[in-house]
Symmetry: C2
Subunit: 235 residues, 2 copies
């Protein structure tokens, strides 16, 4: 029987607002679930039946148009909250980008629990406000930045978000040189940035050619010149 005690995100997720008894009560209505890369937890347009906490992995929130165009509207990392509590239909699907572990609740159960635990709702509110801020900042990128600015901003954002997990600044490496593995395919990067896969690829190639990044493999990126990348990102 799995307990929350050893949970990797026990102190960072919204659960941090709960004491021992409360966490046991919450644990009783939740269950762990593992998702393979590419597997979906929630589908766009369906009634909101599930909510969850991310324990491990990276997942995308995405909406699409009938003709197949897709936009990734959010990316969630460990300790982030997933789903739409308090009614409504989910306006975006949730799909694992990497193998992931999540802590799932039925929305009804969670709603009930949250309603009787103001501290939990408070944490959830803070997180939602934070996510709204982040989302709005991303709108500036989508609406006003050029392809090169978008790609540079994307890489910088990703390094920051991945930091808690993979402090991959090798001991002994030059300062400012960071290496990490992309949880995204080129198509998914394009869907985050509102570009095509070809444009993303060309920007990667260009940044590599200018010595700002290196690309040891499809999924790996090394940031060689972070200040240059910041300039590329347009501030």
């Amino acid at each position: 029987m799995s307990s929350c005690d050893q949970c990797l995100v026990r102190n960072r997720a919204i659960c941090a607002s709960l004491d021992k008894d409360e966490i046991n009560a919450l644990n009783a209505i939740g269950r762990r679930r593992t998702l393979a890369a590419g597997e979906s937890l929630i589908w766009e347009g369906e009634d909101s039946v599930l909510v969850a906490n991310v324990i491990e992995g990276v997942l995308k929130l995405a909406t699409g148009m009938e003709d197949g165009r897709e936009q990734i509207v959010g990316v969630v990392y460990p300790s982030d909250f997933i789903g739409r509590p308090f009614g409504g239909t989910t306006s975006h699907g949730v799909t694992a980008l990497t193998e992931s572990r999540v802590c799932v609740f039925s929305r009804r159960d969670f709603d009930g629990f949250a309603s009787s635990h103001p501290a939990l709702e408070h944490k959830l509110l803070q997180r939602t406000l934070q996510e709204l801020d982040r989302t709005r900042r991303w709108m500036l990128l989508l609406g006003r930045k050029s392809a090169s600015e978008k790609v540079a901003s994307f890489l910088l954002d990703l390094v920051e978000r991945l930091a808690p997990a993979t402090c991959d600044t090798h001991a002994g490496a030059e300062p400012g040189v960071t290496r990490f593995t992309l949880p995204f395919s080129r198509q998914q990067i394009a869907d985050v940035l509102g570009l095509t896969i070809e444009t993303v690829s060309r920007q990667f190639t260009r940044l590599k050619g200018e010595g700002i990044i290196d690309l040891p493999s499809r999924r790996d990126v090394v940031i060689l010149d972070r200040p240059a990348l910041v300039i590329e990102s347009g501030g």
Copy 2:
């Protein structure tokens, strides 16, 4: 002395969660304020010192880049909540588009009040979740839609949002014909859609030429063929 009893949004704003005594307590820490069109209530980047409810008018939330590019990241209408409770700096400015009346609170006071009134926090959470949904839907527009789809989507969104105030479907008018006044200049529309003013203007002209809308004056729009507009919007 102004009371909340006659407030236009008493039953729609987050205040609706409060009983008579509570509303009086909240009233005691808030004050009314009128904003002229173009006047700002909150500036991008400053510490969050104010929060507010919109009583009347339309306001924009906007962020910009050093070089002057601007993106409107949200538009708020009567009964909507403004500002960033629970710390942090405001990542976007808030500016009145039309003459507006708001109910302002110091953030510190509001935070304290909210923390001791779970029902208010619950309402605020619901509203924030709703706003996040709306914002994410807008990301699909910014990232994936063409100029014509953007403008059509914008008009349809606006009609819907303006509806509570101005049910301007004239008695006796053909069904589906709606007239309303834009709370935006062409530049502001461009800033909402991530386009230039010229592109917006050309799309308006084209829609008019195709008989889908009419433009009696700069600020007035008549939707003549809503189904066509829906098709233009790309679903």
